[in-house]
Subunit: 347 residues, 3 copies
């Protein structure tokens, strides 16, 4: 077990699988006692959230912990992270104080910090998340940073495992049209989740829309280690063939970082997920992290059809959040047996 | 029992009275156990709130449930509700996903969505509330929509029942001056609450300030069924005579929807609630949903005098919120007997 | 015991010391039961917060109470406080209703209301806090107002007592450079906390940066009563000599209220806390309420050095918040004995 939960690749295949098993046990039989009673967790948001805030709050509260939801920089002070800085700018607070203080007041810290969207070389350093990891004396959880969204990835892997034995199955991550060049955290984590589960991974994207090179390298080495295939394609039609899972997501180009996406209707139609394209697959489930722009990224017919598991993915955010919190705060994985023999209250 | 709690008229006279009895039992003897332990409720606000947020949070928490307070569109994503829309505008999320997801994460969903204030024909459809009802698999509670504010109405009826046997008594809903054309949710629900309690209802308002015709029709049929009288007046002085309860509220004109209110001092004085006017009543209690603009809607002398029950109304928001949550989440009404025989903790 | 906790001077030396003892007992051995179960506390913020929100929420929740965090004027209605006002301006709600209502819904009310920063004569009246005290039927806690920050002062005194027997020791409150003329709440409360603990108090500040005269008068009489010395200096170098605790804080001038602070580098260097200056002390601890502007108010070397207790101060916000809530809501102080003999759950 790593101390923090900020990257699926760092967490690794075995631990990821164990967390998913724990999450499935939470889903089958939630604990009757409050195993995290007396604990508190700070959920720090620098960006909007719906599923993440609700799933985290409910996960913590249902285990007996107190969730503190903070909107950093709006209800609170803006936080500097650079070392040695003369703080005469617009940040009245430094992570060197803010993080250790939060770590004294709470038993775990979770952070959502989107990239700024101007310079990928800077953004990919994930300065805020790195500062939280560096200065925290308690476990840190990423609720999405520039490089990944491990909580989403864990829920994605859980959803895949609920529908199939993922080993050797075909996972297609397909780029989707959008009105804005979105971050790459979700495509990174979705591909990682599938690779760590032993799937063959195909990434279909227009030229110029590759994932981060370091992420690709790690994907490649995980796939190789698990005897799976990693493939990149710019032909969506082809890429759908034989897929067991289609994961759609819009993201921006790293080579032309921050640039608006092509809005050409034919281009959009080529990449939008449709029932026609889904018909090319091997009965694939349709996945998306949500929120999704209907009829821009994917047609209503797919989202509202029987192959869509997007609401399951979102529900599984709750169960996987419980698994992560339980693991980081007790050192153990939750198992159905534990829940069947109710322990005396931890109070 | 209807599945949702979004309209007093839909809830009906018997169920409304039973909820008020439950609320009075909660007020007399709050449960010692945590009957809703392990449950969570999402309270979604698209508009500001004070009483509503606090009463809902405290009601849920004191029954053992976890309240998740969300400010939709600010801390979260903006939500589209139209079906079949191509989502290339400013809403990144659709109710078709957002609502089912919330319903997987929480055991009940509550929504405050004020009208936009431009087109009453559109506003009265309550698109957001309708979308929550349509797409939720768990009970939906209205925390105020264009057409009504049933939680407020329930607290109003409770306050009336604490002071009198309302059957056959005189209820005056009087329009009050204001600096802005406010929504009609509260006057709608206040009149409904009184009618459902069997009171004779008088609505005093300037010409052009009628309530919604469908609301008036339902009020008329409820009053008829209960042997009570429904009257509309544009003569405030007359309307006060014989009243047992005076409920003041400012609202905008539906026929000139969105237009500023008349600011003429004489007109304002004619409609402002004063001690003189209250002296014409049969010792009426003075009611208002709050917030109230002092010395614009009503004089200090009335608000600070002994007939004012406005703070009781607000306190009763807590007890009625408990009654609604308890009913929707357990299927039962709370009774004093239940509270006197403490059950073993649900944990 | 006073009914409210809004001023250290009003709370007095004995009660302040007892609260610190209670806080130390909470730190050593948190209660296993939930002594405030069923209670709720409204934490009302008119200004940003990090330590205060988190420490208050966690303190309340860990004692079993439900914390309701409100951002007054943003998520809620703007509140008027003047008596007799015709409310045709931008405040739709008056404290005469808002406060009694909150007091019906919650068991204690806490308020953060910074000064407006234009007229000290007005600001020092603390109109919002005064309105809360006047209209609340339940205990009121100040989370910082123009005149003081008693929760911070209590944590400061606790931190001092953890490091030394403060009686007769030398406490230096030193003005520090900043980019903005900050409020005086913290320097007021820090000096009060030290004086009430029996320390000799030195206040080093540039000419024109005196504390509020009434605060100085009370400090003087407390110091006299405790046989201690109160001194004001404009020579920072001298002032550091022999200090056992150095408390740095930036604040604005009351005589030139609202004016920007001098930005002259030499002036800033004269007043910035440095390792050189700390070397003049008698091994003093370094204190700051946070957030702190690094290398503007104080050098990295001091903040990151072994004498800094700033993170302890912040942690002690949690324990002192528990002590205050416990005292106000149960009438008792918490003691280690109480925690060693677990009482049956208050539920």
């Amino acid at each position: 077990m790593t101390r923090h939960f900020t990257s699926l690749m760092e967490t690794g295949a075995d631990e990821t699988a164990a967390l998913v098993e724990s999450a499935r046990a939470f889903k089958r039989s939630p604990p009757k006692n409050r195993p995290l009673a007396g604990k508190s967790v700070a959920f720090c948001f620098m960006n909007p959230s719906l599923r993440t805030q609700v799933s985290c709050e409910v996960a913590a509260a249902s285990l007996g912990a107190h969730p503190v939801t903070l909107f950093l920089g709006s209800g609170t002070w803006k936080i500097a992270v650079e070392e040695g800085v003369v703080m005469d700018g617009d940040c009245p607070e430094h992570a060197r104080e803010a993080v250790p203080v939060l770590a004294r007041l709470c038993d775990a810290l979770a952070l959502r910090a989107f990239p700024a969207g101007k310079d990928w070389k800077e953004d990919r350093k994930d300065a805020y998340l790195a500062a939280f990891r560096r200065h925290s004396t308690v476990p840190v959880i990423s609720l999405e940073s520039a490089m990944g969204h491990p909580c989403q990835g864990l829920a994605d892997q859980m959803t895949l495992r609920e529908r199939m034995d993922p080993r050797g199955k075909e996972f297609l991550l397909t780029w989707a049209p959008h009105i804005k060049p979105l971050p790459l955290a979700v495509p990174h984590s979705a591909a990682e989740a599938a690779a760590l589960a032993g799937m063959n991974v195909t990434i279909a994207r227009p030229p110029g829309f590759d994932l981060d090179p370091e992420v690709m390298e790690k994907l490649s080495s995980v796939c190789k280690a698990r005897g799976a295939r990693l493939r990149v394609s710019d032909k969506p039609q082809e890429a759908y063939r034989g897929a067991h899972a289609v994961y759609a997501k819009a993201w921006g180009s790293l080579s032309e970082y921050g640039r608006p996406l092509p809005a050409d209707p034919a281009f959009r139609a080529l990449w939008r997920v449709s029932a026609d394209k889904m018909a090319l697959t091997d009965g694939a489930v349709f996945m998306h992290c949500l929120p999704v722009r209907r009829n821009v990224e994917v047609d209503d017919a797919v989202l509202d059809g029987p192959s869509s598991v997007v609401v399951d993915q979102a529900e599984n955010r709750l169960h996987t959040a419980k698994a992560v919190l339980y693991r980081l705060l007790t050192g153990k994985h939750y198992s159905q047996e534990a829940s069947q023999c109710p322990m005396p209250s931890a109070r």
